[in-house]
Amino acid sequence: MSSNNDMNLLLKIWRQPDAQTKGELVDYNVTGISPDSSFLEMLDVLNEQLVTKGEDPVVFDHDCREGICGMCSLFINGEAHGPGKSITTCQLHMRSFKDGDTIYIEPFRATAMPVIKDLVVDRTSMEKIQQAGGYVSINTSGNTQDANALPIPKADADAAFDAATCIGCGACIATCKNASAMLFLSAKVSQFALLPQGKVEGAERVKNMVRVMDEEGFGNCTNTGACEVECPKGISLDNIARMNREYLSASLAD
């Protein structure tokens, strides 16, 4: 279904065969892109062309393609998940671009998120932060108290939910000029800090998670607020303030 609206674009894509080899931006022309296609579908078209030519297709992370799994990354024209607010790369559509545009496509960059290949980065550091305390220590038993035995004010439950909607994509880190993981970390800390179930081990949680974050080589938060703007789920900076509060009082009590 080609139409008159179809676009031709110049792509400047970061190519890097593996973590050890130096990468570079490579130019590609794509033609006949429908404005209704998604950004990743545009890359599918490019890859189809490359495969047909026997060239190595561009590797990029993606999975659900509906903005919830957090797998897709990409730094597009200078912004994490590209232009447009509150979206992931897979929700970015080509109608956001014009025929003839040049588009820069780079991997998320941070010491703590090294490139694996092309546009794919290693987010293991984020996993480690979660493992350091992103949980409530409760075993599966079937004998926990009834779910309604502990009423939680709606406002708290809603705020905890808002923090919990983080998809762990790493856009906050990618867009932060310091590659800081504070928004990501604070979302998890906040979710539990706002709920009675999470308060019990709140002090240990925040200390351990911050410690691991520091060990992993993320930068420091300088409150530029870029993370909040680029976050596909609109996670609020309030969470960082809350986490600072939690951390400082927890470490004062040591």
Partner: protein
């Protein structure tokens, strides 16, 4: 973990100390501006004010605290910046940072650095003379002999390039404060959505007062030299 280690040695703690020293320096700026504004009240009043600042025991002690605050703030700023640079060794080829943050928030190290350069010049031109040399003329007010700091200051404010440097430095400081003021409350954990707007407004107002206040004095005395 040794006691309080986390309170001094972690990314969150470093930001906290950055915030606390910053807020402390903010109070210093207010005092400094207040003293400077006394210049409009004339030579007697200003010399009396600077004499008070030079001799009051509490102020003498606070000078060292202030110096420590500066050192911690600057040292932390450099350390944080170096760590932050190391956190992203490979830059983006194309970065549209303006889409998500303000220039002032991204360039604190530069606005702060400019202020630091000015601070050195400033210390050399005023503080050094006022405190450690006898190059400043004396002034006798009702039998009390003191430095004629008014003469020193108005003298410098008569030099056009000094006034230009002075005003530029305070523009840098204004930018620094515009981000730094509200940022300090965020780093210390004293902010949420309800207060965010107010703190932003207060920060902007404060930075404007500081930048305009100091600059206005210099500009006024450049155009209205004291007799």
């Amino acid at each position: 973990m040794s006691p309080l280690k986390g309170f001094f040695n972690s990314s969150v703690a470093r930001k906290f100390w950055m915030a606390i020293t910053g807020l402390f320096l903010v109070t210093f700026l207010l005092v400094h501006l207040a003293v400077n504004l006394v210049m409009f009240a004339g030579q007697d009043a200003f010399n009396l004010a600077t004499h008070f600042m030079a001799t009051n025991p509490l102020i003498q002690v606070m000078q060292y605290v202030l110096a420590a605050g500066f050192i911690v703030h600057i040292w932390m700023g450099i350390k944080l910046t170096l760590q932050n640079r190391a956190a992203r060794p490979i830059k983006y080829a194309y970065e549209n940072a303006a889409a998500s943050s303000t220039w002032a928030s991204r360039n604190m190290i530069y606005s702060g650095g400019l202020v630091l350069v000015f601070l050195v010049i400033h210390m050399r031109n005023f503080f050094y003379h006022m405190k450690f040399t006898e190059n400043v003329g004396t002034y006798n007010l009702d039998g009390v002999v003191m430095h004629n700091d008014f003469e020193l200051v108005t003298g410098l404010f008569g030099i056009w390039y000094y006034v230009v440097i002075y005003v530029l430095a305070f523009i840098a400081l204004g930018l620094h404060l515009n981000h730094g003021f509200q940022s300090a409350f965020q780093s210390a954990g004293w902010k949420n959505s309800n207060w965010k707007g107010l703190m932003q407004t207060m920060g902007t107002a404060f930075s404007a007062i500081i930048a305009v206040g100091f600059s206005a004095i210099a500009i006024y005395f450049f155009f209205n030299p004291a007799q």
